[in-house]
Symmetry: C2
Subunit: 388 residues, 2 copies
């Protein structure tokens, strides 16, 4: 899949971002608008304490149509009870007034610190006139939803005659479970909400749902797709492949920019008994603090790979047949450490990405998980996130 | 339970430790000896790639008797195949020669880097004459099994007319699953191997099996108990309580001295539907990198507590009834963040231990988990453990 050098929107989508005083001086409110009522689908966090925007979003998406997305960063509107839900509704109403549509065609998101009240008045007054700021650069909207991300993230690619654009934020509290951080996908292809929903779930299954930065599942994860239809019909297999590739690429971008991370850690597990088991082992490796610090230090402590496979108690293993490699260098064969050139392996571990391949030798299923190294920077950022 | 100010051995147990050249200059080989063939029981790691000493240990412990334990640090004898098993047997034979007993009355352990061959010749020659070094201070033996621990760990207490002594090492790659790191328990109480086994499993269930420093399950975890019988019979309930208290205290010591850790994090979950569910939620909190870094930074980011409860997808929750406190200060009530004195809470979070209590309000079961904060020191240590 070839991605555009500079991300662009499909026909009929634009965005704007502003600072309304939630962050010190960076953009903290983003508005994404479709020219038409777009077919839409979304998946949300499975965390059992979902934020108010997620509760409202589940209701909104039932209509299968969206005209706009309004998202603020810095404060997440979680654990605020009835007041939180009212604030989320007021946020949707404010966006609807500005855009000239109905509140139930607006998806809202709030991302940032959990457990502080949303400054809803700032949002209501801050949004005034944003329609006049709309532009065609998805990176503008991406900037307004950043929390600890180090740069705004958007990408686009073609799918037949249509375009697919993904705008997302990630960084920490990321092991999506069913959905993910915030990811908004825009396309001008034509699909019904039902087909969009199926296509979205398939793409998320192998991309954002295989991403883990720190095993912690956010209360605000949201992944939505809007299809304006302005480019007409696209063959579904073509669209499916492009959407999956775009989501995988974005998952890799989010992993590489995980809090404190310096590189992408990609783990592919092959010949597992079932896909679920392959996913479990791949996740065990990308989540293991000891595998993550091995990557951090470019330290060829490869026995930790066996440890992280072996702690998957419910997976069918054939220890004497298990093999693993790092960037193509075999390090485990038949369950045993093999001799390897330590300096060459150190050099690989200093690179980006680090690809760990595991062969379980028990079946035919496989999966790939996306993560990052664990660094002092992760600790430093998260030891003062509330206060800083 | 009152613990001895200075740990001591029960009647009939002694130990020695030496440097045999595995570590630069610290003790790296420990021998524990009983005057008599002691009744014995043990539990081992559930990791699917167990070290050779674990494979051999499972065989040895079937006899229900032990005379000695020989343990080396620095190199763990894991993933070494047939050679590893032969080395473990040679290690037991060397100890048997020195002690004057049979190899099947010797438990051996090796802890340290995974995936390097054991320097068995150094151990075979190094053990010569160790019987002459035997002393009555359990801390001497504790020093020889240390890896990244910052100090040797031993404790003792009375159980009726008998004594219970626990010697252990911990630090990293610790989320025991069925057993734990290395912990050797010595008593002069009289029990059959079968009763010892049951008592050990009960104690481990609420102590070492509720300890997690980094979610990574070691391939070498071993917890053994030796009962010489020299103090005669002790009432089982008295012994059971003392053994459980001693193991919980040692689990807390290991947690507080986790790699890079600066304090003990203790999470108690109450009113869960089942004990297993209480354990799952308590583990989710002590394992959450975001809860652990909150402790690190004394940052009152209490919404993370809800996040870590809410990501337990298979636990019965009543979100609107969920409450939590930190060192007795209520921070969540009815699923919502409550107002609290931020400075007072920061002061609590700077203390040691940090006690988080969670009330799920759905049942009657409870559990306590033991962990530590996540610091830059953990990352630094584990980014170069193999090389340093």
């Amino acid at each position: 899949m070839v991605f555009d050098e500079k991300p662009r929107f499909p026909h009929g989508f634009r965005c704007a971002a502003r600072n309304i005083g939630l962050k010190r001086d960076a953009p903290d409110l983003s508005l994404f608008v479709s020219d038409v009522d777009a077919a839409a689908a979304a998946v949300f966090t499975r965390n059992r304490f979902p934020g108010a925007p997620v509760i409202l979003g589940r209701e909104t998406i039932r209509g299968g149509r969206l005209r706009a997305i309004l998202a603020n960063s810095r404060i997440s509107n979680v654990a605020m009870g009835e007041r939180g839900l009212q604030d989320a509704r007021r946020m949707a109403a404010a966006a609807a007034r500005e855009v000239g549509t109905f509140p139930d065609l607006v998806l809202v998101s709030s991302t940032g610190v959990i457990g502080l009240p949303l400054p809803i008045e700032k949002i209501e007054s801050g949004i005034g006139g944003m329609m006049a700021d709309l532009c065609e650069d998805p990176l503008v909207g991406a900037a307004g939803i950043m929390t600890t991300d180090t740069y705004p993230k958007a990408l686009s690619c073609s799918a037949g005659s249509a375009t697919i654009t993904v705008v997302a934020k990630g960084a920490g509290m990321i092991e999506p479970n069913m959905a993910t951080m915030l990811a908004y996908i825009f396309t001008d292809a034509e699909f019904t909400p039902e087909r969009l929903d199926a296509l979205l779930r398939d793409a998320v299954h192998i991309s954002f749902n295989m991403l883990s930065i720190d095993t912690d599942t956010s209360t605000s994860d949201t992944c939505a797709i809007l299809a304006s239809g302005r480019a007409g019909r696209v063959e579904e297999p073509v669209f499916r492949d492009a959407l999956a590739a775009a989501c995988v690429r974005m998952a890799e971008m989010l992993a590489r920019d995980g809090e404190g991370a310096t590189r992408l850690l990609r783990v592919t597990v092959g010949r597992a008994e079932t896909e679920q088991q392959a996913r479990t082992v791949a996740k065990s490796l990308v989540n293991s603090p000891l595998v993550k610090t091995m990557a951090r230090g470019a330290d060829p402590n490869v026995g930790r790979i066996l440890m992280a496979i072996g702690k998957c108690l419910d997976v069918t293993l054939h220890p004497a047949g298990t093999s693993a490699s790092i960037n193509g260098v075999p390090v485990i064969e038949g369950g045993l450490r093999v001799a390897f050139d330590e300096e060459a392996l150190r050099a690989e571990l200093r690179g980006d990405p680090i690809d760990i391949e595991v062969d379980l030798a028990v079946g035919r299923a496989g999966a790939t998980a996306f993560g990052c190294d664990l660094t002092e920077g992760y600790v430093a950022e998260n030891a003062s996130y509330y206060s800083s």
